[in-house]
Symmetry: D2
Subunit: 244 residues, 4 copies
């Protein structure tokens, strides 16, 4: 129900196809004028071969200098979402926000848990946008877009308020700032983590600053969609030493 948090545990992500599609564009957010001039002819589609036995992806056919270029398969879900609450038509599945959506964060992988704010009765979960692998930022606008079988479980934490989506992996707790610029996303990820440390670990404002100052790990998660994303990770091993 609205006011709850949906807990989505990603149990298994299994690639079920031997190819993926991407491109060689670079998102506007990555371009200063030098780079804009350099890549002005880019934008063509690139096909990747997925070798599931070897666990690698290779461009198919490869460009001249990429004949031996192979990247590890790291299947992930680009989209996972509760339905946003709105009196109007909901945003499309290419967008993101407090409800989750098209976050394109490459640690939403097998074993990860995603926490989403519930805004509608029944939460109305959806997921998709299977990526065989993706660098930080999803710079090409597309990752290695493919198909996969997904197993996940869903749980509910009643009466809990969170900001933007949270993620938990074996090793880290992670807040995700999603906003119109990297600078604003950075503030949001930091503020959400401060709230998490305050609520679940009972830290004071001074303690929060000490933990963030010594333990923050920030990545750019995405620049390819309307919101930019920055994630803030804190190691669970470090948090385990906190006195509650």
């Amino acid at each position: 129900m609205p006011g709850d948090v949906l807990v989505v545990r990603i149990k298994k992500l299994t690639l079920n196809r031997d190819w993926a599609k991407s491109d060689d564009g670079l998102d506007e957010r990555a371009l200063n004028s030098d780079l804009a001039v350099k890549v002005k002819e880019n934008g063509k589609s690139i096909r990747w071969h997925l070798d599931r036995a070897a666990g690698t992806a290779t461009p198919d056919p490869p460009a001249e200098h990429l004949k031996h270029y192979a990247i590890p398969l790291k299947p992930m879900l680009g989209c996972i979402s509760a339905a946003p609450g709105t009196a109007q038509a909901p945003p499309g599945t290419g967008d993101s926000g407090y409800y989750g959506g098209n976050m394109d964060f490459n640690e939403i992988r097998e074993g990860a848990t995603v926490y989403l704010r519930v805004a509608n009765p029944g939460a109305l979960l959806y997921f998709g946008d299977a990526h065989a692998a993706q660098g930080d930022g999803e710079l090409n606008g597309n990752a290695l877009e493919t198909s996969m079988d997904v197993e996940l479980t869903v749980d509910v934490i009643p009466n809990k308020r969170i900001g933007d989506p949270r993620v938990e992996t074996d090793t880290d707790i992670i807040t995700m700032g999603l906003d119109g610029s990297l600078d604003d996303a950075f503030k949001e990820a930091t503020s959400d983590m401060a709230s998490w440390l305050e609520e679940d670990y009972k830290l004071t404002p001074s303690e929060i600053a000490q933990v963030l100052g010594t333990g923050a790990e920030y990545h750019v998660s995405e620049v390819a969609d309307r919101n930019a994303g920055i994630v803030l990770k804190i190691s669970k091993a470090r948090l385990a030493t906190l006195v509650k």
Copy 2:
């Protein structure tokens, strides 16, 4: 000489004191209004005990919930720099730019190599700002500020143009964007890496985009000084497969 690149290899960083000083402030760049209100009373000095045998730092005295909080010592240099070329007085040592300076990047550690653009005869290298450990962003404005013995070697690559400073570790090549906002620093780090891949690996614009799209790893290096920093890392293992 101007037009050359200075290659600084950090051979050894040895902590030589058993304490460091930091604080519990949070930099303005990290604050949205919620967090600004939450930490408005912060700003006091925090002393850290450095246990070099155990390899850990602990707040001294610790706040209530941080009684068992201990972080690994990861000594790093906040500042490393050639002198900027300028007809005017140079910027202070708190600033950063194409010449290096106060970059506060927590991978400038023992074993790293830093490449700096030379703007003056003799390059006029300086370094300092010893940090016993630092989270991404140097959120407190100060890291664990301390003292250390530094061993480094200096080499020159004649007649080479680079943009902002580059860093190389055992595992990665890294470009560093230093600019007035995270959004601009992001563009700069990306553009500098594109130039690196073009010049040293002979990649075409299309190949550059494919490698960045699948292999980029972006961190926020710093928000505590006048420039914000974003670093872009590409794995050397991956680059080793490129056909030159």
Copy 3:
């Protein structure tokens, strides 16, 4: 039809009510930490009396220091829009983009002409969000929200491509950048004006830069919604001297 431009001429805006509603909040985009702390208790509704004979609006009741505060009525339309083209549900009426929408630009007044990109057969024009007056930025999140009678005419320019919406007043041509940050909106407004000067005035890139450098007037139009807006105005008197 898609590919055309819709020309909306605002003939008459007549206030038809003697009150408006606003509030005393300040949008997050306007707050640094000092200001966030200062206004942390703000957020209450403010009623304004509209004296249409005198042409002024006054807070009702006024706060202590605003007993004689009166602002000129300058009726404007916050929203004017063609329907966006999308396979998905359209964005809500609180959003903005190439299609127009909730732009909250205080020069969309009687006498102004708005040019909108058509993305659907029939264009599907809508308008609303009547403001009795509004400062730049719509800082309170609400302007003086009221009701008005609107007269406008609609025309079509076939087969013309524009970027974000354009506005024309008696004195100026105006491009509007709408994007996730002021920095990105600034680039967009500038780029759109460069296109306008190139297409309709046949200026070369060098001439465009000379006209912009000497004649640009930039305002912040809005910060209160998902997109920030910056407008770029060029005086028609100045353009009249250009040799086509």
Copy 4:
């Protein structure tokens, strides 16, 4: 003395030469990728003829479409500054900050008053960077750079704290946000104006928001130097109605 405010009244700005120098570049901050590609060959010097009798400037020689292009002369000072207080060497005269400096704001003209924070005994005022005219933003990196005779008077307000420089014209009070991005400059200009309204007009936080929401006028003052500038103007006529 440090802690005072320097009041600089610009009495007279008289052009004393019949030419100025500018260029046809566009600053990086104005370029999205479309515009970067469009102007990639720009960057040449442009000479302007100043006709002081007619009060106009014209490109000399003019490009094809600018044969009749003439802009009004509006002499202004790009730089006006107290010396910054620093234990290190001061920033160069191309930079700006709380001390003033290279602000390139086109309303710092004859009749304007500039308020600067004093950081050194004697304040150590300097001024220069004579512009015959300049559009908002100083997009070319250079305005119409020329020479002029300057008459100004200097006064002191003892024991007064201000943030970034303030400007007063016949019609407006103006705060200037100078920061690494337009988004941050916008916050700073707004926060400084809130302080001004609080201190000199005794407004409460709610009243400040009402005055800003209905009366703010924001311009982009500059994008051509290290700091971006946004100015916030409030009409003195409106302020005259406030009850102190």
